[in-house]
Amino acid sequence: MKTLQSDIRTSKLRNQNAVMLMLLLILSVIVLLSASFGAFHIPVDAVIGIFKSQLGIDSHVFTDAQAQVLLNIRMPRILMAMLIGGGLGLAGAALQGLFRNPLVEPGLIGVSAGGAFFAVLFIVFGSSLIVMSPLFSLIGLPLFAFLGGLLVTMCVYKIASNSGKTDISVLILAGVAINALMGALIGLVLFYADDAALRNFTFWSLGDLGGSNWSKLGIGSLLIIPAIGMILKLYPELNAMALGENEAYHIGVNIQKVKYTLFLSSALIVGTAVSMSGTIGFVGLVVPHLIRLGFGADHRLVLPGSFLLGAILLSGADLLARNIVRPAELPIGIITALLGAPFFIYLILNFKKINY
């Protein structure tokens, strides 16, 4: 009896690994489908052939045109969807852990809007203030969006938290206020924009994942991947924070350090994501929830699981966006909102019953 019971840790670890494996499997299926379907159809065996030839294995089941489309257009887009979807899922989980509240989401509390405002500032005034080197014009936008996101996260936290406890109604209201303020500020900045800047802004604000290319993906990975790493490492601390900030401090967590690491890394992810693909809502809300509902609250699984499920959700949504009205494309934000908003309503209706 005792030996059976003392296996809790091992069996839990085994379950967590099984969940991760399952998510990885689903993700690879979606990647394969995404690579194949689109305005220009590439059969699955051709896709596999192209991947093989990239690895140096000779394969002749594909045409040059197929390889060109897959490698230069579709792959960076798929990887971008994975990076941003996974990043948003993880940032959602991190913010929920930080605010100790399962209803928190980067868009809802205004982080995305803050990022968008600073991105617009950069688009409109950036070129006139700074001598734009080509590299800076690429990296400046995500960095500005990051600053905006960081500023808003810290503001909202200051407004909504009182000695380590956040009041969810104050938090959501603060989000509403900040979203309104950021919207007004964006309007104000656009009022002063010249035609070139307006054109840039229009492209950026429409720009879902369609504009992905390898150099954009490179910059995005450079900013998002370290932030992902920083968050993933904090799973024991986030578990402890679920008890409360004081309790986490009693167990030995350096609260201030954890808080600022989470502020920085989630703002880095959300800001970069906003600058690369506009505001994509609800991924950060829905994904951590689904993981917790299905597999428990342990952040050792919730964090990497949210990354994988976010990647699945956004690349899946992108697959739909590219194929529903083929050869045209739906903006991806429409699809995530169509899936996410009803789920959010369901959460509000069941918030008391879910029994955290």
Binding site: S6, N101, N239, G244, H250, G252, V253
Partner: protein, 267 residues
């Protein structure tokens, strides 16, 4: 030794703790008692490090509390607050395991099982914490803080508990207090804010009696825990006497209507 020297604490110029000096010895069970609003919880939070004194010092084993990193402090003292609300659906087992955050390798699953079995919560291990009853939650939290200081260490350690047994039934209260008494052999000093004067009389070694933000009486139970001091502390007639069987001490407070009667007679 855990010492508070000339502690003073105020919130927006209103003193909550006027002036207090307390000593907590390893290997002893110290109870904090006092009427509502006496500053018991504030004193507790100052000692645990949740609040910082406006004046005065807190020393753990002779070293200022501010000089410790949170990780070092977690090795020396464990804290159980009055209420803990979880923000996510963790199981009871996961909550207890959080106590080993600072030293995950040193605490075996068997240790966790032992503690949970002694507190009679092992059968609840897979249940969601939020679905447990008040007394069950308290025992889960207690198991968590016990796990934090479970492994012996070469230095004195402290366990601080704010009303740890308030939601438990009487048999569990005795079980827990007896278990806390066993910790004394491990060079651990136990400090608990308690309300049940009878349990204090039978389990504590030392008592800190708080009133209006300062320490009214403090010392060995045999010296300060008597009818006269308790009456002064609570402003209510209370009698302390040995139980007629010779087993333990009884603390008796007169029902209210009898008091009115005696007062009337005196008039």
């Amino acid at each position: 030794m855990l010492q508070g020297i000339n502690i003073h604490f105020c919130i927006s110029d209103k003193p909550i703790i006027g002036e207090a000096s307390v000593k907590l010895f390893p290997g002893q069970f110290t109870a904090i008692i006092g009427p509502n609003g006496a500053g018991k919880s504030t004193l507790f939070k100052l000692l645990s490090g949740d609040l910082t004194c406006s004046r005065g010092n807190i020393l753990y084993n002779g070293r200022l509390i501010q000089k410790y990193k949170s990780q070092e402090l977690a090795q020396i003292r464990a804290v159980m607050p009055q209420h803990t609300v979880l923000s996510f659906p963790f199981s009871a087992w996961e909550v207890v395991e959080l106590g080993s955050l600072n030293a995950p390798r040193e605490i075996s699953q068997q240790d966790i099982q032992d503690v949970m079995e002694r507190l009679q919560i092992w059968h609840l291990r897979d249940r969601k914490y939020s679905l447990l009853s008040g007394g069950e939650k308290q025992r889960v939290q207690l198991a968590r803080v016990l796990i934090q200081i479970w492994k012996n260490q070469p230095f004195p350690r402290y366990l601080l508990l704010d009303e740890p047994i308030s939601s438990m039934d009487v048999s569990l209260q005795h079980l827990v207090l007896a278990m806390l008494n066993d910790l004394k052999d491990r060079n651990i000093g136990v400090l608990a804010v308690l309300h049940d004067l009878g349990l204090v009389a039978n389990y504590a070694d030392q008592v800190i009696m708080m009133k209006a933000g300062s320490v009214a009486f403090q010392g060995n139970l045999s010296e300060v825990y008597n009818s006269k001091n308790l009456e002064k502390l609570f402003g209510y007639p209370i009698q302390v006497k040995n139980h007629e069987t010779g087993m333990g001490v009884m603390v008796h407070s007169l029902p209210y209507h009898y008091i009115n009667h005696t007062i009337k007679q005196a008039q």
